[in-house]
């Protein structure tokens, strides 16, 4: 028999931080959207906004353009800082396609 032993070529992955804890409920929470404004986001995200406002008492859903929109900016540190500063409890991101 011939034995061959070789390296896994995929390299190591470092996990440096945990995911953010989820909120217990969306009632009474502030929710924002971070949108690239593409792939029918202009139709789907307003629908989600109205669904959230209907389904959860006391929820505040920020306008779709509360944060910078577009592929070029939504992943930036500036946008992340803007979102954090806004005091939202949760964020919906879309649309990736």
């Amino acid at each position: 028999m011939v034995n061959l032993e070789f390296h896994d070529p995929s390299g190591a992955i470092e996990v440096k931080q945990p995911f953010a804890p989820r909120v217990a409920s969306l009632e009474g929470k502030r929710v924002g959207f971070v949108s690239n404004d593409q792939w029918q986001a202009y139709r789907m995200l307003p629908l989600l906004k109205s669904l959230l406002e209907t389904d959860f008492a006391g929820i505040e859903v920020l306008p779709l353009d509360a944060f910078p929109q577009g592929n070029a900016v939504i992943g930036s540190e500036e946008t992340a800082a803007h979102v954090k500063q806004s005091g939202v409890d949760a964020v919906i991101i879309g649309n990736a396609a």
């Binding site: 896994d8 470092e14 995911f19 989820r22 919906i92």
Partner: protein
């Protein structure tokens, strides 16, 4: 950010998402609600969003990652057993394909012995960290590069070029983080300057875009880079990268500038673009999304002046296209790489042309009339661009395809024949250069190559 998120995305975009998340230092996982591509197209039925609203709510309230918070250690060695050398080799190749580590062509199993041999071309220790490969975030070391080069059939004397190319690739200025996952099928182009090109049998002449058994270095180096993009960076077609077509990704593009045939007074690409000293070994990395042969010379009784000028107009005509992905490099990158054979470059130089005057000509004559941009819907792309320079360029009529003539890359490369030139259309946010470091044993490695492959 510390704020829970849920992402609305396409079903086969999950790999792109998990790569992106892993690249941020999180576990390769994310709260997502996925739908088929049809729902993302104009005029689609979006009622599934309402039907599945609970999944969005759960993503923000109940979702938990399937991964632990601990960092991953180095992967263990893979073991296969075969009845013969051929059988073991075949099993190893099957396993690598099954694990999605291959490209469809035979791979050399990266055994300890093979990888140690390749590593003789390194100047840094095996664990030296070159960077984090986007978007998946795989840790990339000298050893990771050596493993890929071993798989690609490479040799130790190729390693300095590969490590420098990977270092340039991982520089945020290259734009690789976006291009690795994007649909535009960008592929890296590595231009090598300095004596190392000829020393390691990297082609600069006939067939320099390959394949070429006489000068095989470019194939292995480019293939190794592609394997790193896929295996460490996560750019798996349709899963980690949405590149519609993939482009020339088996071996990417790796060639040397034909410095021996540079006209007197013409600087190398490395000196012009990166201010590297003449004779310095270096690489320059850009991205392209197209490759076009241009029949440049005249067919009848043109004078040398007419032949050169008509060829220049014809090349500019090939560049006058609405390459919207190229906007990412409009300000600081390149609209593309023009390859001129040495014989053409020398004829043009005798007529007074320089690399600079060629770039000026191409910039001026590749402009697109605004009316043509408008009818093709291009102004919308210019308006949403993050660059102010791009947005303001809408006012220019005819519209220049790049912000400055200096952005054009002109290199002398290709066989000694005047008929053709070559245009690698750019999709390149930046052009990143690196000087090469060679190990003290480099001459010995070249001697071994001479022994193994015959004289150059």
């Amino acid at each position: 950010m510390g704020i829970p998120t849920v992402t609305l995305t396409r079903a086969d975009f999950v790999g792109v998402m998990t790569n992106a998340v892993a690249g941020l230092g999180l576990a390769p996982d994310a709260a997502m609600v996925t739908f088929p591509i049809d729902m993302f197209l104009p005029g689609s039925d979006i009622s599934p969003v309402q039907a599945r609203k609970r999944e969005f709510y759960d993503g923000l309230t109940r979702w938990r990652s399937a991964f632990g918070a601990d960092g991953a250690a180095d992967a263990p060695m893979i073991k296969v057993q075969g009845a013969s050398v051929d059988d073991a080799f075949s099993r190893a190749n099957n396993l690598m394909l099954a694990n999605r580590w291959g490209d469809g062509l035979p791979l050399w199993p990266p055994t300890r012995e093979r990888v140690s041999w390749i590593r003789r071309g390194a100047t840094q220790p095996r664990g030296h960290r070159v960077g984090i490969f986007p978007p998946r975030g795989g840790v990339t070391t000298v050893e990771t590069c050596a493993i890929a080069l071993a798989m690609a059939g490479g040799r130790p004397e190729y390693l300095p070029v590969l490590v420098a190319a990977v270092d340039a690739f991982l520089d945020p200025a290259s734009g690789s983080a976006q291009l690795q996952a994007a649909s535009g099928s960008a592929f890296p182009v590595v231009i090598v300057n300095g004596p190392i090109g000829a020393q390691i049998r990297l082609n600069s002449g006939f067939g320099c875009l390959g394949p070429d058994p006489q000068r095989p270095a470019g194939a292995s180096i480019g293939r190794a880079l592609r394997l790193l993009q896929q295996n460490v960076g996560g750019a798996l077609p349709g899963i980690g990268t949405m590149a519609n077509y993939g482009g020339v990704r088996y071996t990417n593009v790796v060639f040397a500038e034909d410095e021996a045939n540079l006209p007197p007074g013409w600087a190398t690409h490395a000196t012009e673009r990166h201010a590297f000293a003449p004779g310095q070994n270096s690489i320059s990395l850009a991205f392209a999304n197209g490759a076009t042969n241009i029949r440049r010379r005249g067919a009848k009784k043109e004078t040398p002046e007419e032949d050169a000028l008509q060829g220049m107009y014809r090349m500019a005509d090939f560049m006058r296209v609405p390459n919207m992905p190229g906007l990412s490099g409009y300000e600081h990158g390149t609209p593309g790489i023009l390859m001129l054979p040495g014989v053409v470059a020398n004829t043009m130089a005798r007529l007074g042309w320089t690399k600079a005057s060629i770039r000026e000509f191409l910039w001026e004559h590749s402009r697109i009339p605004t009316e043509h941009l408008r009818r093709a819907g291009c102004p919308a792309w210019l308006e949403i661009d993050s660059s102010k320079v791009v947005r303001e360029s809408i006012a220019l009529d005819p519209w220049p395809i790049t912000a400055s003539p200096d952005n054009f890359i002109v290199v002398v490369a290709g066989g000694g024949h005047p008929t053709n030139s070559y245009w690698l259309q750019g999709y390149s946010p930046g052009v990143v250069g690196r000087e090469l470091e060679l190990p003290p044993s480099f001459d010995a490695l070249l001697a071994e190559a001479e022994r193994d492959l015959g004289p150059r």
